[in-house]
């Protein structure tokens, strides 16, 4: 409809999108590459959302964590990769997690809604990163850090499978899937995940059942925010080799939609992230015939349609 209004043939546009994405290894690779950070960040947010904590602060949290990952990976370049990579990830996780703890503590102590505090934290964190980056760590006249050594780079798919030639798809994608599966297991199969969901559903009952609600709020915020830091791995270790300011391009907000579309189920997050990846990359491929803005509109419409169809199916089931 929208496409017709702007005078393009929708079939042409969509068939181009499909053929570009699925017709070549490169297109498929790029789609998966774009989905990777969304899977990671969406899984982290799913944990927060299960506790009914509306963490809008992923954008800031993931940037801080990624920044730290980039720095640690650079300074530990001399160490073997099996030490340097985990060390970088752990540092990133801790930094993102601690920044996630700030709104959690304010909520627990003073009862301030996390929605407001996390939004404010975004401004603070991004400004601080900008300050540290420009004044201390950036390569002169750029907004990115020093390049990490090749030893700590994650191999690309194209190194093993020639069909993905040219695509930035790398093994962080596999790591992301593992994170989603782990998050799924954590939420649905462990006692801790159970308590998180209980608090999310009904915190009063949880209190009477004997769950320490504050502990749940703090830890789910820490874990959820911490996970978002791994987003940086895809960009830094799998793609550019350095942290660049603005690399996330509002990914932290898109991931909110990804998690919600998947009803906060991390396995579902994989699929909804793939959909977003498809729309994102697919949008690029038809850029020549359709303006980018129109593709954003179409992305929005696709998601709204899926959500309403979902409700319709649900209603039909109940009847």
């Amino acid at each position: 409809m929208v496409l017709l209004v702007i005078g393009k043939n929708p079939f042409e546009v969509f068939s181009l999108m499909f053929s570009d994405v699925f017709g070549s290894g490169y297109g498929l690779g790029q789609t998966l590459f774009k989905a990777t950070p969304l899977i990671i960040c969406g899984s982290g947010l799913a944990i927060c959302f299960h506790a009914s904590l509306f963490n809008i602060g992923a954008e800031g949290q993931l940037n801080a964590g990624s920044f730290v990952i980039g720095l640690v990976a650079y300074y530990l370049s001399g160490l073997p990769f099996f030490v340097a990579i985990p060390a970088a990830l752990i540092c990133g996780f801790i930094v993102s997690g601690l920044l996630g703890l700030v709104p959690a503590i304010i909520k627990v102590e003073k009862g301030v809604s996390e929605v407001i505090t996390t939004i404010m934290m975004n401004f603070i964190i991004l400004a601080l990163i900008n300050f540290f980056l420009i004044d201390f760590f950036a390569v002169k006249s750029t907004v990115h850090t020093e390049k990490i050594s090749d030893a700590v780079m994650i191999p690309k798919f194209s190194d093993f499978m020639p069909m993905f030639q040219g695509s930035s798809l790398n093994f962080v994608f596999v790591f992301a899937i593992l994170i989603a599966v782990a998050a799924y297991f954590f939420i649905y199969k462990t006692r801790f995940g159970y308590e998180i969901r209980a608090v999310g559903y009904n915190d009063t009952a949880s209190k009477y059942i004997g769950i320490k609600i504050n502990k749940i709020i703090l830890s789910s915020f820490f874990i959820g925010a911490g996970l978002t830091s791994f987003v940086g791995m895809n960009f830094i270790m799998g793609y550019k080799g350095y942290y660049e300011f603005g690399f996330s391009n509002n990914l932290g907000f898109t991931a909110i939609a990804v998690a919600l579309l998947a009803k906060n189920n991390p396995i579902g997050v994989i699929f909804s992230a793939l959909l977003f990846g498809f729309l994102d990359y697919g949008g690029l491929t038809v850029n020549t015939i359709v303006p980018k803005e129109i593709m954003f509109v179409i992305q929005g419409i696709v998601i709204l349609t899926i959500l309403s169809v979902d409700k319709l199916v649900e209603k039909y089931y109940l009847k």
Binding site: K189, Y194, E195, Y201, N202, T204, Y208, G210, I211
Partner: protein
Amino acid sequence: MNIIEFKNITKKFGNLTANDNVTFSIKKNSVHCIVGENGAGKSTLMKILFGVYRQDEGIITIKGKEADFSSPLDAIDCRIGMLHQHFMLIEDFTVLENVILGSEITRNIKLDFDKSEKILNEYIEKYNLDLSLDKKISELSISEQQKVEILKLLYRNSDIIIFDEPTAVLSPIEVIEFFKIIYQFKIEGKTIILITHKLNEVKEISEYVSVLRRGKLVYETDAENLDIKILSKEIVGDVDVKNDSGNYEYEGEPGVLAELKNINLKKNKLNVLNNFDIKLKKGEIYGICGVEGNGQNEVIDILYGLNKNFTGDLNIHTKKISLVPDDRIKKGMIKEFSVGENIIIKKKNLKSVNSKSILKAANDVIIKYDVRLPEVNAPMESLSGGNQQKVIIAREVELDNDLLIFSHPTRGVDIAASSFIHSMILEQKKKGKAILLVSSDLDEILKLSDRFGVINKGCIVAEFEKNQFNLQDETEKTILLESIGKLMIGITGEQKN
């Protein structure tokens, strides 16, 4: 004249048949009671009438016309009102705002509060509701909240009013007040449908009675031919109500398990507990009876360790405390979780939770306590109130804790389940547990407790020992009940004229 006719109503939820070919009618301007056990299908039938559910088969005729409601809005248009078991009020809104919500009177685009206020105050006076319109719902007691719901029905000019277990949350004196309102409704020509468990209330107020059992209409009668014995037999069916007087005395070593001394507690600068004293002993049931909102919940929170802002001495010689809370949906369970998940969430020693352990926990309880549910993995919210309560009590009892707190354990629960719950409580006493029973149902307090105190304004105003209240003589009993009733509402002996 029949104002409502149900013809062959059938409603199924999955494998569960909630209403099975139900046919009966309700006369205009009558008080019609619908009785039955938990899960007998009373609420479902009324929700169909109110447009919440749609029947699978059958026809409902209202005022001679076939009703085909697709939502409660249609029912409200037909001037049907329903007072639900769980109130539908917004806590942060005032009484006025809650009542007018959905049918506001406006002047241009502005809400006309003055006009609505005038109308509502007329109703309040006429029905003697004793409510102030500018108070917030969160400041009101349960019985006051119920009055707000009633005011909502009046404001919408309902002339057929469905009450779903209205007296379950009321103290004896409040019930009398409530009945006065119902009589007033009748005088005004309204038709009243009352769902209840309490047979003495049926006897007192109903003109017609219909009994549902397992979804079927099994018995109908009118006030003249009403016999409580037949009625209770029809409700329960072939199983006879256990009225056991077995030996539940604890024979082990006695001892004080918990003691509260001179407890004072302030909430919003008001004293909610005033020099509160009780002792809980092993193998003894201590009852607290009183009108709701006199500090009962605060005492429970203190004992259970959730509130530490009090002054006074609290000595508890155990950390193993179980609680069956007063509001099972809000405090007792995660309604989206299944039965098994709700049980397992409290078993702290269980580190991994998998579908197997959940299923086992659920099956154990379902069999042992005869819980009826659509299917094992169904969420708790799909169970009837009595069955939810059984699950919660089973969970708490199975933990084998030393101190058990039961707050209104049989509220909104039918006769068979009530007597089952009562014998469960007595069994725990025999095992030597210390038990605190909080209830506004005086019969329950008298039946179960070894000692009990009457609470009023955060203070135990009188305490009774078993030999003082376990009376055979009917007149003495009446006198005792009357004086307890007075203590509950704060009229002490000295003030007697």
